[in-house]
């Protein structure tokens, strides 16, 4: 029975043990009796004497076996011990007459290691776990079992006690916000191309029904009026807000180290694509919500992680929570149709672009008239400890990936590399390039 409901940083497991007798106990008893019998039959006192310590050892350790109904209580406590570390400590209250506890532990889902401590504990079982990644993660896991005197009785392994945390991703401040082709509403922070209130000067136009009298520009009327009834008004652009949909492709999570792509060890893989995706998604959500826009979120591998578009501070908390709990789910892509995108929305597709599924989605949305920005979250590759075959396989995967990015660009999907690598433009400059107003190339380039 594990209890962590009241305090997630303190996990307590109370268990009743099921004891198993060691085969060595039976072997020791049988050996002792056999030697005594041979000594008796052969009239050899020395053989009978050799059986004596064996029988006595078996009797003593059997006499000191742990009681079946005694309960064990194991408590795992987690505590922040710095910006990038979490401390843990394990307290074991073993059943009466248990002499030894065998523990098997793993940190960040890595290789399991075993160690054995005397019970009651003579020292502290504690350590720290580095926070290397964002998102939900298993920080530390302990499996344990108890041994009686001389290990003649061993408890069956209990349910592991696991320390988990959801680590919030870091945020990058975004100053230049790319906008969708079509802004919506009559209020907001962005200037629309439609006539209305709040924006900058648009043009001088003939007074029509619905124009306010205070907008009449008398100087322009004096200059341009052909007839006595002509009135001219100064028109301004309206302000509007944008609808943004963040779509995260969390089906795969690959790190910098190519050699770790198959093993996916949290401690060895370096920055992972989902780390970058979470950082990008939370930064984008923060920036657009701060600008008063409506933001929605969808995780391609989980229908449960879908947040409809809305605005406001409370909605931002909801979005950030949905983003930080995103984890690779190993669920195949099951959408028969692409997820529904609100009319006129700007779609950010955060993907490592390692397969065609996300590319097809981006092209579908682009074909429906949405502005789509594919955020490439694949970190630059590193080849430490990689084999020649792994490097060759990586090269082939990257060639296919380059083909996909070429197709995306050719169909009008904007591409944004989130990772700031040496020699590339800073992220702010890349976002500023994407935020520039589109060139007016007929009706296709006009933001309406």
């Amino acid at each position: 029975m594990t209890d962590s409901a009241s305090n997630p940083d303190r996990i307590t497991a109370t268990t009743t043990q099921r004891w198993m007798r060691s085969p060595g106990l039976v072997a020791g008893a049988a050996t002792g009796l056999l030697l005594a019998a041979i000594g008796l039959i052969a009239s050899r006192i020395d053989l009978a004497l050799l059986s004596l310590p064996l029988v006595a050892a078996v009797a003593v350790s059997w006499d000191r076996r742990p009681a079946a109904e005694d309960r064990a209580t194991v408590t795992l406590s987690l505590a922040d011990s710095g910006d990038s570390e979490i401390g843990y400590s394990l307290d074991i209250r073993a059943p009466h007459r248990v002499e030894t506890t065998v523990l098997r532990y793993s940190v960040l889902g890595g290789e399991a290691r075993e160690f054995v401590v005397a019970t009651p504990l003579t020292g502290e079982i504690a350590g720290t776990v580095p926070l290397l990644h964002s998102g939900p993660q298993e920080l530390v896991r302990f499996d344990y079992r108890f041994l009686g005197a001389d290990a003649v009785e061993a408890s069956t392994p209990q349910e592991p006690i696991i320390g988990e945390r959801v680590v919030a991703p870091t945020h990058t401040t975004i100053r230049s916000l790319p906008l969708p082709h079509r802004l919506q509403g009559m209020t907001g922070a962005h200037e629309s191309a439609r006539a209305g209130d709040g924006g900058e000067f648009r043009d001088i136009h003939l007074f029509t029904a619905g124009d306010r009298l205070r907008r009449i520009d008398w100087k322009a009327t004096a200059r341009h009026a052909q007839n006595a009834g002509d009135l001219y008004v100064r028109r301004t652009n309206t302000l509007a807000d944008a609808t943004v949909l963040i779509v995260m492709d969390s089906r795969d999570d690959v790190g910098e180290q190519v050699a770790e792509w198959s093993r996916n060890s949290a401690t060895e893989k370096g920055i992972s694509s989902l780390d970058l995706a979470r950082e990008a998604a939370s930064s984008i959500a923060n920036a657009y919500i701060a600008a008063g826009d409506r933001v929605g979120f969808q995780d391609l591998s989980s229908r449960a992680r879908m947040v409809p578009h809305a605005s406001g501070a409370r909605h931002l908390w909801r979005l950030l929570r949905a983003i930080e709990v995103t984890a690779p789910s190993a669920v195949p892509f099951q959408h028969r149709r692409p997820p529904i995108v609100p009319p006129g929305a700007l779609v950010y597709l955060l993907s490592s672009l390692l397969d065609d599924q996300s590319v097809n989605l981006a092209l579908t949305w682009r074909g429906n008239g949405h502005r789509v920005i594919a955020v490439d979250v694949l970190p630059p590759a590193r080849f430490a400890r990689s084999t020649r075959y792994e490097r060759l396989a990586h090269r082939m995967v990257m060639m296919e990936r380059d083909d996909r990015t070429r197709i995306l660009r050719s169909r009008g999907v904007d591409l944004l590399h989130w990772f700031e690598d040496r020699g590339s433009l800073p992220l702010s400059a890349r976002l500023a390039l994407l935020s520039r107003p589109p060139r007016r190339l007929g009706s296709a380039g006009v933001r309406r």
Binding site: W19, S22, P23, G24, L25, A27, G28, A30, T31, L34, L35, I38, A42, R44, I45, D46, L47, L49, L50, S51, L52, P53, L54, V55, A56, A57, A59, V60, S61, W62, D63, A67, A68, E69, Y88, L90, E99, T100, V102, L103, R104, Y105, R113, E114, F115, V116, V117, A118, T122, G123, E124, I125, G127, T128, L147, A149, D150, A151, V152, A154
Partner: protein
């Protein structure tokens, strides 16, 4: 697996778990080899004892440690029962093999062990060995036949002493305990 892989992990949560788990198996092999050499000397049988020792350490689940104990004890049949240092070493050796055999069955050989884990089995070993060695000395002096085949104490006396020892052992095994094992 390289030696580097077997190095003690720096982030091990129990700071004083510094004995490699394989030490119990190594000890089992060393004790088995030494006692085999003591029991069989330079005869060919000692090779069997060494092989059994190494096999028992390599695969404890096969319970070869207890086969080795029987093998070492049967070596006594080739000699006359007498109080010698070899017999006393054998008496301690078979007991130690039993304790190490039990530990190797449960201790993870790749893990790391606190030294305190070995303390209580060692204390029990000493607590059993001291009376066992004393009893062996007395029994062999009193009961073992001398060079002329004469026994210092008669069979009748041995029967009385043996019966008393068995009664004591029976009482130890059947000693009433609180009802803590009723649920088994």
């Amino acid at each position: 697996m390289s030696l580097r892989d077997r190095a003690r992990p720096p982030d091990l949560p129990a700071a004083d778990a510094r004995v490699p788990g394989i030490a119990a198996r190594v000890m089992l092999a060393i004790v088995g080899v030494l006692v085999s050499l003591v029991a069989y000397g330079s005869s060919g049988w000692s090779v069997v004892g060494i092989l059994l020792s190494l096999s028992a350490a390599w695969a404890p689940r096969n319970l070869l440690a207890w086969v080795l104990i029987v093998f070492l004890a049967l070596g006594e049949l080739s000699r006359h029962a007498a109080l010698t240092w070899q017999f006393l070493v054998l008496l301690a050796g078979v007991h130690l093999l039993h304790v190490l055999g039990l530990l190797t069955l449960e201790l993870p050989w790749r893990g790391w062990v606190q030294p305190a884990v070995f303390a209580r089995p060692l204390l029990r070993f000493i607590a059993i060995q001291i009376p066992a060695q004393l009893l062996a000395v007395v029994a062999l002096l009193a009961l073992a036949p001398n060079a002329h085949g004469h026994r210092p104490v008669t069979v009748a006396a041995f029967t009385v002493i043996g019966a008393a020892a068995l009664a004591g052992l029976t009482l130890l095994l059947l000693r009433a305990r609180p009802n803590e094992h009723l649920g088994r």
